[in-house]
Symmetry: C2
């Protein structure tokens, strides 16, 4: 047993998937669910996802060796305040937030010095929200980034490394600001763009909108899956990683203007060159084992 | 047998897939491949995809009841000029271009009055190019849009409808300008955006770029597949559907500015509202049978 007792606060898709992975891989004797929603606690109980499910967060952390905060980034500080006085000495506190610098800024001043903060970000998810949609295998083969601070005790970092490895993840250690920039490009900007384009389609006249839905397989569909992600989670990501997102968005906008100008001017060479360069990145991703080359073919055959 | 002899000009992913579908479904006695590349003709011969493979396009159309142009949109007019004098009387000429208004403008003045032009657009494809990547099932369950003109003989339209239905497609008849607007939104804009964002990442410093590849599964990856599409084909799409693309791009840019401003000002309500609205479109697409709700979960489990 890696931990005697684990508390997971916030039992949505990620929190409930962690609980399932903990159970499947025998990582704790006891799992406590802390969630301010009575409805979520009821679902957790009826699905048997935790030994105890309780809305009082302070009570939920008592006696736990590991507490993982799985709430939207904007809620982290508030939760930390609620639980700070009841954390066990030497407990590890971790989180799964998609933004790390701001989460650390929220948590560090509130948490007592007697606990070890090891911020984390499992890069995994689906377009679905809620405890009923989690599954134990969500983290298998996926990256989990840990962003400890300079003063963080190495032993605590090692323990969280082993924990996520046991859930099937590959671990990367990163500085929190660097994490926010990398994820700003690979995740936050793509989500913002997908939300925008789907929103643009949503504003169309009704008759065209029904055709957009009908012919969505021609490219648009891929954006809608991303744009169906949890709105609260993503609102908080953008509010709390403002600087990095606005920076990469600026670069994106400049590049888009360049292509727009090339289309307007009929500059085929510019377009061709740009469209050829981007193929190389796809190849690199396939080579890195991060995508299956036959993915789309399979999807086509299914649909 | 639906046709005695079919000529397919341009034996890339789409052309070779049509040939395979024709063979699989017994739609013609004889298949002729016309492709200006000797290398492509050699591949077609060695794969046994056509009865004859020839670089002389004029010769390739002789005696064929159906000629399908599967070349990039920018090449349609040039091909039509080459074959115009050798087309059989009453032959049907069709194409697979992603833009319809401009293709009709290129073809109609060049083709003789004795043939029937039935422009078409099968909405199907993969990120791969070339005759070796085609497969007979590419069109199964996918839409094929036909954009006949007012004077087009109904019998020819019916024949092309039956042809694509035999390949497994669902048929939609549309006015060419309307097609270009709908596809501008559902396909051309998404591709332009995907090309842009992948290009933005491509311009990053090398150390960050390697991390973008490593952590691409967090959203970016979906864009790279789209941005790995055939550069020549897409260059021609944007050059030949300029008006519709610039129009929808304008709307997109305005919407992106709105979200950018909301992030800068920290307007959480605006972001939340926008991110909630976009979920409805995904649901409509799933309800319309155009996407599988469990798609991403399956991909996650695989990867």
């Amino acid at each position: 047993m890696m931990f005697k007792q684990i508390t997971i606060i916030g039992f949505g898709l990620i929190g409930s998937s962690i609980a399932r992975a903990v159970k499947k891989n025998d990582l704790a004797k006891k799992i406590i669910c802390g969630d301010v929603s009575q409805e979520v606690c009821n679902t957790v109980s009826s699905l048997g996802l935790a030994d105890v499910a309780i809305t009082d967060l302070a009570v939920s952390v008592k006696g736990s060796d590991l507490v993982i905060l799985c709430v939207p980034v904007g809620k982290m500080g508030g939760v930390a305040e609620k639980i700070a006085n009841d954390l066990k000495e030497n407990a590890i506190v971790s989180d799964v937030g998609s933004v790390k610098k701001e989460v650390i800024a929220q948590l560090q001043p509130v948490l007592p010095n007697t606990v070890h903060l090891v911020p984390g970000h499992p890069i995994a998810g689906t377009e679905f929200s809620g405890p009923e949609h989690g599954f134990a295998e969500l983290f298998e083969g996926r990256w989990c980034i840990l962003t400890p601070q300079e003063h963080t005790e190495l032993k605590a970092v090692e323990k969280m490394t082993l924990f996520w490895e046991a859930c099937g993840s590959n671990i990367e250690i990163m500085e929190s600001g660097h994490h926010d920039l990398v994820l700003g490009i690979t995740s936050h900007l793509p989500h913002l763009i997908a939300y925008t384009i789907v929103g643009t389609a949503n504003d169309l006249e009704d008759d065209i909108k029904s055709e957009v839905i009908k012919f969505s397989a021609s490219g648009f569909r891929d954006f809608t899956r991303i744009a169906a992600s949890n709105p609260t989670m993503w609102r908080d990501v953008f509010l709390n990683n403002k600087e990095a997102v606005l920076e990469v968005l600026q670069r994106f906008s400049e590049d888009l203007s360049g292509l727009q100008k090339a289309i307007r001017k009929g500059d085929g060479d510019y377009l061709y060159q740009h469209f050829s360069d981007t193929r190389a990145i796809r190849r690199a991703i396939v080579d890195a084992g991060q995508a299956e080359p036959e993915e789309i073919k399979v999807l086509n055959k299914k649909s």
